[in-house]
Amino acid sequence: MPEPVGSLVAQSGLPAGGRVFSDALKLAVMPTRAVIRLQLGARSQKSAGSLRIAGRPLPLPINRWNGEDPVIARISPDTWLLTSAWHDADELLPAVRTGCGRRSFAVTDISDSLVTISIEGALAPALLARGCGIDVSAESFGNDACARTRLASLAVVLRRIAADRFECLVERPAAQWLHEWMEDVASGLVP
């Protein structure tokens, strides 16, 4: 009788590292250990301003984000997304539950649902403009902006981190395809 299988190795199935097209455009699949979706009930949303997750307040304006790790983004009236490159969901979930206290809420680990792709460089807005309907100019989509939108017809969460750096969260089954789409667009943008 063979030894029972006791461990599995995680595989992303995605390109490792990043791809530098030029100083003006770099693509990279970012390590993301945890993605947690927090939803607050209608009454609890009113007191969201006093809610703290690991000591940090939730962003209150819709389509805004704050924090470093975890990043907390409000992506709809009742939904916040927490992403972390350093912490596992098992570490973050208790902090979220404690922070929510007796409010009406739901917290769900969706760490394996989403993949983060970084788009960096002066040409990053131009790449996004090829497949995204929203205006990602600095005036409209500032450094603390995030949005649920579509990129290359796929549902994504887009977040601006700096003047020339964005992160895009896309569903895992579509990540490879979107990355290839970005590479294809990038090859047309960079001489």
């Binding site: 299988v5 006791g6 995680a10 595989q11 739901a106 649902s113 989403l114 895992r172 089954p173």
Partner: protein, 281 residues
């Protein structure tokens, strides 16, 4: 399929490709019709990799993996769920079957999906494991008479039309569709009802073929919704929506497909293992 994970937590699994549509539909009801309900809907389809492990040796295959989930027939009977660790990773193990065989579905976080698939194939060599696709599962479910929503039903089909009338009638209180079930037209005896059809040759017994009852010379009395040759039974079997079908067991109907014609026998929808011995093994 609805699975209860806790007092206030449910998982809904849908037909392939229907998850986004069903999630949007649930959101619509939650936001537009019952905004006062403190209910949250979270799509988790892409978080989990799911494998169906079906067949009489499915349990032996599971035994090749380290797990703290009890899955013998007593601990995990048909239509039940347990959570724990499987091969060292978080997992949900469902006892469920769309093939009519002893069956499990295992969920692991998606990042472990490729590794689990490889290990299942490797460990399954001793049991003759083989991947099976949609065509196979559609034949297996047809032999069991499990309906395929959208193929064996359409927008006019009621629970009673497919033999679930008593289940729906037991539900107390209000629910979506209750009023429709009470409409006189939906309670007629001569509605299109799901039945089984079989024929030894049955070259016209194909999905989409129309049915005519004895004495009918024009128009249609129903149609074949699913059909296939069953190697296990050695004949062609089909599911069909037939006018007043449940009262016609043992009768023969004419089957017309373009210029082909045959006769088929009206039978119950479960062709194989009607006692469920394989399912509950």
């Amino acid at each position: 399929m609805y699975k209860r994970q806790g007092r206030e937590r449910f998982v809904v699994t849908t037909t392939s490709g229907g998850a986004s549509r069903v999630a949007a539909w649930l959101e619509e009801w939650r936001q537009c019709e019952w905004p006062g309900l403190e209910v949250f809907v979270t799509p988790v389809t892409t978080h989990w990799a799911t494998f169906a492990i079906a067949g009489p040796r499915a349990r032996q295959l599971l035994a090749r993996f380290r797990t703290d989930i009890a899955y013998d027939w007593r601990a995990l009977p048909h239509m039940s769920l347990r959570e724990g660790r499987f091969a060292g990773v978080p997992a949900r193990l469902y006892r469920v079957s769309f093939s009519g065989e002893l069956g499990y579905e295992i969920n692991v976080p998606a990042r472990y999906g490729a590794a689990l698939w490889a290990e299942l194939m490797k460990a399954g060599v001793d049991f003759g494991v083989t991947p099976y696709g949609i065509e196979t599962v559609l034949l297996l479910r047809l032999e069991k008479g499990y309906l395929h929503v959208g193929a064996d039903t359409d927008g006019t089909t009621t629970p009673d039309d497919v033999g679930w009338g008593e289940v729906a009638a037991k539900r107390k209180g209000d629910f979506i569709g209750r009023r429709s079930l009470a409409r006189p037209d939906n309670r007629r005896e001569d509605r299109l009802q799901l039945v089984g059809l079989t024929d030894a040759n049955g070259d016209a017994l194909v999905a989409g073929a129309h049915l005519r009852l004895p004495g009918t010379t024009a128009g249609s009395d129903g149609w074949v919704t699913s059909a296939s040759h069953s190697p296990a039974l050695g004949k062609v079997i089909a599911l069909a929506l037939l006018r007043g079908g449940r009262a016609r067991m043992g009768q023969r109907v004419a089957v017309h497909d373009l210029d082909r014609r045959c006769e088929a026998l009206v039978v119950p929808t479960t062709f194989l293992d009607p006692e469920g011995k394989r399912l509950h093994a």
